[in-house]
């Protein structure tokens, strides 16, 4: 008993912090349906703000506390709700989970960006706030407790009592419960569901902020990693309360805190098992609850009963292709691929070959996500762990040198597949056996709960399994070498690419084949799938082991590429989260999505490195990029592909109508074929690239970019484009666009001139005179306004004519505008970094490889720019020859609107 009281007193303070975050988790999950894994990140942010204000800015303690916990934290919650989760209340669980995961990744990096990457030493204690001396030690009947721990308990009790009072005596408490059931229903009943969820976000965010401030002194350090573990403990605590009950969640938090404290005393500290099990206690509790507590998985994931009225998702992009396009793809795709491989084997610089090879090795892992999420409809956060199983198995087998490397790779994949199958047997089979014994069928672990189980498994694997000597040979891991025949970088590329191609075709064939159809049926309705005889259990085993096997294969490739598999550095569990977020954002259903995600992951990080920016910005970008997932659950790549296919179909239809009109002589003079404009806009950059290539080929090395020749080639095209913008703007304005469009253009010119002057006066432009800067600034400002103004004009005219579908929207201007800003930023950057770095004034440096980041960005800029011009000209043409009797055909509208009544 005495022992127990000691555990209680020593474990309770940490348990209180867990409980605070867990209660916030339950609160938002109940009211907005979002399982906000980012609360730990919010706690970290609040802790960092507190640290910054009190220690670095020397604010008084109470002011720092009020600012970080009572102002900053609720505002952060408010921001997240207003800007983000408000729009997701009726979204699927995948969308909410991915968005929260994106935040979990992005927020801590953002905090580190602002407050420095180093953990804060000696974080301030808030004990003095309630009149306790920080160094005082309390004596509770022979048990001792420090001031910080006492404070944590006291603050938690205060928070819980306040929370209880609020639920008991305010109407918001009642409304919060109602919003859980169905926000739309509650709104029909006259409750402002928006406000309720806003309140709960602010409230739970404040709790997380309080937890963040309380936690740091308990660990004597302010470190982001501590907070990542905090979220798992909080989830486990919330699981004790079945994600719905706040009192049980509080108890769960206490239980975890006390259990963590008690475990070493119970199992001892001598055996290796005991040392392994201690840090993984929260994972074990979470995993155990999810697997062995049928009530938890039986309860339905919060979803909206009225969600059936949403329009169905669009079909896959390639289904919109007409026969012509299909034929073209069939020819173009092999040619493109053959050309790509040929270039990679010959002229592409070795640096690029290495990076792209890494990308394709990673793409193999990403294909496992395509299988699991794209086909299976579930989200696994353990793909990095499965990759690690494959990698370590491969390394162990190949270590002695007796087994050929390729065979070792396959063995690695096999081991990972077996681990995947065992994982299913554990989470499904074991409960099913228990269920059979109790004569009660068991629901399969799916959805959010499956994702949480995989997360717990991944972290457990990282913290316990891969640290074991028998598997990873200690801290530095195992050295691995590539196959004999692929020692050279280009041969290695060929091997990786071939493996990737085989796996990619496997994935495509599976999607089209029986298993893909069965999985699609299972995703649609599990009970109906069973009713036609589909064996969900064996399908799950196939799904998990296939996905894990492919991840293991990719893990082996990554290990070979790096020459080393290390327990923590090669496959960090958190990478598994980044990967899923990235793949799902770009498109989990297609191979394209996986390839884009992999190349993006590798190249963007490299790009930031080369530009001298912290690579964490990339992670922040990936995290926030996940927000787009809510709008495009099919993925950005898929969305863009569909859009361009539809645009092509639309363009062709327009062209045939123009031909008809010109045959009868009715073609209006304002009609101008898109390619005329595009050709002239593209001519400068294209000719210049051509010129560089020829000269480099003649001289035998990459020639430097000289600003004079560059300007000679590019300026005529730019002048034409500017003239085109002005002429088109005027014409659109006259025919019913925004009446005062001209003022906007003049405003843009003025702002541009001011910007040019700013660049000059701050000497951000090396060797530029004031007239140079202003002369560049004015057209840039005009173009920046034009990017939005032209589509707005066209849109207005179409609406004025009563068209149902507008040919274009102002959103079209976002991408070129963004690139304009980025270009300006690069200029700024190139002057402030030292000239020796890769970025230093790129105009004086050579072409690729040294100036490649700028080259890459310029190339993308040209593509974006031309695309915008083409879209606008297309819209203008549509306005010119459309009108009466020219309604857009049915397939232009995104989808049939009839919905299932359920």
């Amino acid at each position: 008993m005495a022992q127990f009281i000691q555990w209680l007193i020593e474990g309770a303070p940490i348990g209180c912090v867990y409980a605070l975050v867990a209660v916030g988790l339950v609160l938002t999950y109940k009211t907005s349906g979002v399982f906000n894994l980012a609360f730990s990140a919010q706690a970290f942010a609040s802790g960092a703000v507190f640290y910054q204000t009190v220690i670095n800015n020397k604010w008084p303690l109470w002011l720092g506390f009020v600012f970080s916990v009572l102002i900053f934290s609720p505002l952060l919650g408010l921001l997240l709700d207003r800007a983000l989760f408000r729009y997701m209340r009726t979204a699927s669980w995948q969308v909410k989970l991915i968005t929260a995961l994106g935040l979990l990744l992005a927020l801590p990096e953002l905090v580190r960006l602002f407050f420095g990457a180093q953990p804060g030493e000696a974080p301030p204690s808030i004990a003095p706030l309630i009149g306790i001396d920080q160094l005082k030690v309390f004596n509770l009947g022979g048990y001792f407790i420090s001031a910080d721990r006492m404070t944590a308990v006291i603050f938690t009790v205060i928070a819980v009592v306040l929370l209880g009072l609020m639920f008991r005596f305010t109407s918001v408490g009642l409304q919060m419960r109602a919003v859980v059931e169905s926000p739309r229903m509650v709104e029909l009943a006259g409750v402002d569901a928006d406000r309720v969820s806003m309140t709960s976000w602010m409230l739970s965010s404040t709790l997380a902020g309080l937890a963040g401030v309380l936690l740091a002194p308990l660990y004597f350090v302010l470190d982001g990693n501590v907070y990542t573990l905090l979220i798992i403990a909080a989830i486990a605590a919330a699981a004790v309360g079945r994600f719905v009950s706040i009192p049980f969640t509080l108890l769960g938090g206490l239980f975890l805190g006390v259990g963590e404290r008690a475990l070493p005393d119970i199992v001892g500290t001598s055996s290796s098992f005991a040392q392994d099990i201690r840090p993984s206690f929260p994972f074990l509790v979470l995993f155990g609850l999810l697997v062995f507590w049928p009530k938890l998985r039986e309860q339905r994931v919060v979803s909206d009963p009225l969600s059936g009225v949403d329009p169905p998702p669009p079909a896959m992009a390639h289904e919109y292709k007409d026969a012509n396009m299909v034929r073209m793809t069939r020819i173009a795709f092999p040619v493109f691929m053959g050309g790509f491989v040929l270039l990679m084997m010959t002229v592409v610089s070795p640096l690029w070959v290495t990076r792209l090879t890494d990308a394709f090795a990673l793409a193999v892992v990403f294909l496992s996500i395509t299988i699991f999420t794209g086909l299976g409809g579930q989200i696994s956060l353990a793909q990095a762990a499965f990759a690690a199983f494959g990698g370590f198995a491969m390394a162990n087998v190949a270590e002695d040198g007796n087994v050929p490397a390729l065979i070792a790779l396959l063995i690695g994949a096999l081991v990972a597949a077996i681990v995947g199958a065992l994982f299913v047997l554990f989470i499904d089979g074991l409960p099913a056996l228990i269920g059979r014994w109790r004569r009660r069928p068991v629901v399969r672990l799916a959805g959010l709960y499956l994702s949480l189980a995989t997360l717990a498994f991944a972290l457990m694997a990282e913290k316990v399994i891969f640290r074991r000597e028998e598997i990873s040979r200690g801290e530095y891991g195992i050295a691995v070498s590539r196959p004999e025949f692929a020692q050279g970088d280009r041969e290695w590329f060929l091997l990786v690419f071939a493996i990737f191609a085989v796996v990619a075709f496997m994935v495509i064939f599976i999607r089209k084949g029986t298993v893909g159809r069965y999985l699609s049926a299972l995703r649609g309705s599990e009970s109906a799938a069973a009713s036609i005889g589909i064996n969900a259990t064996s399908l799950r085993i196939i799904l998990f082991s296939l996905s894990a096997g492919i991840a293991g294969l990719g893990g082996g490739l990554i290990g070979m590429a790096q020459g080393q598999v290390e327990p923590t550095a090669t496959y960090p569990a958190l990478f598994g989260v980044v990967w899923v977020v990235l793949v799902v954002t770009l498109g989990a259903r297609t191979v394209d999505g996986a390839v884009n995600a992999a190349i993006g992951f590798v190249v963007i990080q490299w790009l930031f490195e080369a530009l001298g920016l912290p690579t964490t910005i990339a992670i922040i970008g990936f995290g926030f990029g996940a927000i787009t997932y809510a709008r495009h659950p099919e993925g950005i790549v898929e969305f863009q592909t569909r859009r361009s296919i539809l645009a092509a179909a639309r363009g062709r239809m327009l062209k045939s109508r123009a031909n008809e009109l010109s045959n009868t002589g009715d073609l209006p003079s304002t009609y101008r074929p898109v390619w005329h404009v595009v050709l002239l806009v593209l001519a400068g950059p294209a000719l210049y690239l051509f010129y560089i290539l020829i000269r480099s080929a003649v001289q035998g090395h990459w020639v430097a970019v000289h600003s004079t020749t560059l300007l000679v080639f590019v300026v005529p095209s730019l002048i034409f484009a500017l003239g085109w913008i002005l002429v088109t703007e005027r014409r659109l304005r006259k025919s019913g666009g925004l009446a005062n469009g001209g003022f906007f253009l003049i405003g843009g010119a003025v702002v541009g001139a001011l910007g040019g002057w700013l660049f000059y006066s701050q000497s951000w432009v090396p060797r530029g005179s004031i007239s140079d800067c202003v002369l560049v600034g004015i057209p840039a400002g005009v173009a920046a306004v034009g990017f939005f103004l032209l589509p707005v004009h066209a849109n207005r005219i179409a609406l004025g004519r009563g068209w149902l579908a507008s040919p274009i929207s102002w959103l079209e201007g976002r991408t070129p505008f963004g690139f304009l800003l980025f270009g300006a930023f690069l200029f700024f950057r190139s002057s402030v970094t030292d000239a020796s770095s890769a970025t230093g004034s790129f105009i004086d440096h050579g072409f690729p490889p040294s100036g490649w980041p700028v080259f890459l960005i310029t190339a993308i800029l040209v593509v974006v720019w031309v695309q915008w011009v083409a879209r606008v000209q297309g819209a203008v043409n549509e306005l010119a020859i459309g009108g009466e009797g020219f309604e857009p055909p049915e397939e232009w509208a995104t989808q049939p609107s009839e919905a299932i009544e359920s």
Binding site: P441, R517, Y518, S520, S525, S531, G533, P896, I900, S902
Partner: protein, 272 residues
Amino acid sequence: MSLITPANAESSMTESSMSESTALLEVDNVTKHFAGISALTNVNLSVSAGEMVGLIGPNGAGKTTLFNCILGSLRPEIGDIYFNGTSISSLPIHKRSRLGIGRTFQRLELFAGMTVRDHFIVTERCRNGSGRLWKDLLNRSQPTTEERALCDEMIALLGLELEADRPVESLSLGRCRLVELGRALMTQPKLLLLDEPSSGLDVKETAALADKLRRVQQVNNLSVLLVEHDVEMVQSLVTQLYVLDFGTVIAAGEMGAVFGDANVRRAYLGDT
């Protein structure tokens, strides 16, 4: 291999004529409790081959529970369920389906995102069991001409030609019910369980559905167990009728006789 005259139709006919006494489906003394409330108490029910049997009862009478027990999503505490003379009580749902029990759902359970044709193809693939992972990996699992033909036949039978290649989300409720019926029929069942197929349909749609059902049933010599609220539809279709109330069978037998029963009128039709 035609749906209209399936290979098993004749054999099951001869089978049933050989042994008149053995029913296709036999629910034997089934009892099921939920947390102290008895949802079913000693329920007996049988469906013979080629027979259409109705199951009616007020809301909460235990119809859906009985359905779920037959289909396997619930396991009865006491009693047994026999199909073709063998006990199926311990089989999982998908195995019961493969034995020849097809079903539709009261609340639509379609495969979201798939077209009508996809629904039928996937069902046929599952029935003939020719799907293999290695065939997928070698891109050898595209629908065969035979599968396509069967699927087209079902589409024609149900009159779904216009909607065949549209995703099911874009169909109206009545059409969706037909798709569910078609999907159940594609499993070539010996016994079809229909859970309130007319719920949510208007009078015309209900009549059309009943018409299709009758045709399919006669041609294929199906056994049907129909749970239905719409008395007219029940009267127009079934020969045998069971009435469930508070988890017990309060009347069973020929339809006319059952509707005349005083208990039934009191419990179900509201007469006093």
